[in-house]
């Protein structure tokens, strides 16, 4: 399941809810990845835009990949502003055995970073500044550009 929230995530509550939801599903391994806003570059926080239709279809393809491994995934992400030391992202995998879970969380988080249609902004002096230096062009980008 995919959960989007306005503002920072309530990490303890989300981790607990997911754990309890699968308590009887007979998964031996549960690995959440929690992403937290770091105090760096004099930012006050981060802000996020999400394009939900494509995020949802991207997530569904990962649910299918998980299912093929006997695993399930869950993800939570913030919309809008998330301040320093607050968390904006949780991805989690549950699987019967540990190797699948350890490999899946890595591949899932990395593809999220490369493919999820989410845009990040630094909050500085009350302004919202696109984090272009940390952003990655999606696969297939540039087709509308001038042919060289």
């Amino acid at each position: 399941m995919l959960y989007l929230y306005d503002g920072a995530l309530d990490v303890p509550n989300i981790l607990k809810t997911w754990y309890e939801a699968e308590a009887s599903s007979n998964y031996g391994a549960y690995i959440p990845f929690v992403g937290t806003v770091r105090d760096e570059s004099q930012i006050e926080g981060l802000s996020f835009d999400i394009y939900e239709p494509i995020l949802k279809s991207w997530f569904i393809t990962w649910e299918q990949k998980a299912k093929e491994k006997g695993a399930i995934i869950k993800m939570a992400h913030s919309r809008g502003d998330v301040m320093l030391h607050e968390s904006s992202y949780i991805a989690a995998v549950f699987s019967p055995k540990r190797r699948v879970a350890l490999e899946f969380i890595d591949a899932f988080v990395e593809d999220f970073k490369a493919s999820a249609p989410i845009w990040k902004y630094d909050l500085k002096n009350g302004k919202r500044i696109y984090a272009s230096d940390r952003s990655t062009a999606l696969n297939g980008s540039g087709i509308l550009g001038v042919k060289k």
Binding site: Y51, I54, Y89, F112, A116, P117, K120, S135, G140, S141
Partner: protein
């Protein structure tokens, strides 16, 4: 008519255009100087599915989205 929307940091209002393929869209958007920096690094979705080639025919009411570089998490 198709609708073109600009996502995330691209500060531009949606367009409604009378075009039938993505090559025509490229020709139109390349004339917009504001968009020059974005066309080179944005992906294109038609009806919320990413497309990888300009050889793509458009239908009436298609929704085209431009997706600039991403950074979730």
């Amino acid at each position: 008519m198709v609708k073109v929307e600009f996502l995330g940091p691209i500060q531009k209002e949606p367009l409604e255009l009378e075009i039938t393929n993505l090559k025509q869209l490229a020709d139109i958007l390349q004339k917009d100087e504001e968009l020059a920096q974005w066309l080179e690094n944005s992906a294109v979705a038609v009806n919320d599915t990413l497309v990888r080639s300009l050889d793509f025919e458009l239908k009436e009411n298609d929704k085209i989205s431009l997706l600039p570089p991403v950074c979730g998490g």
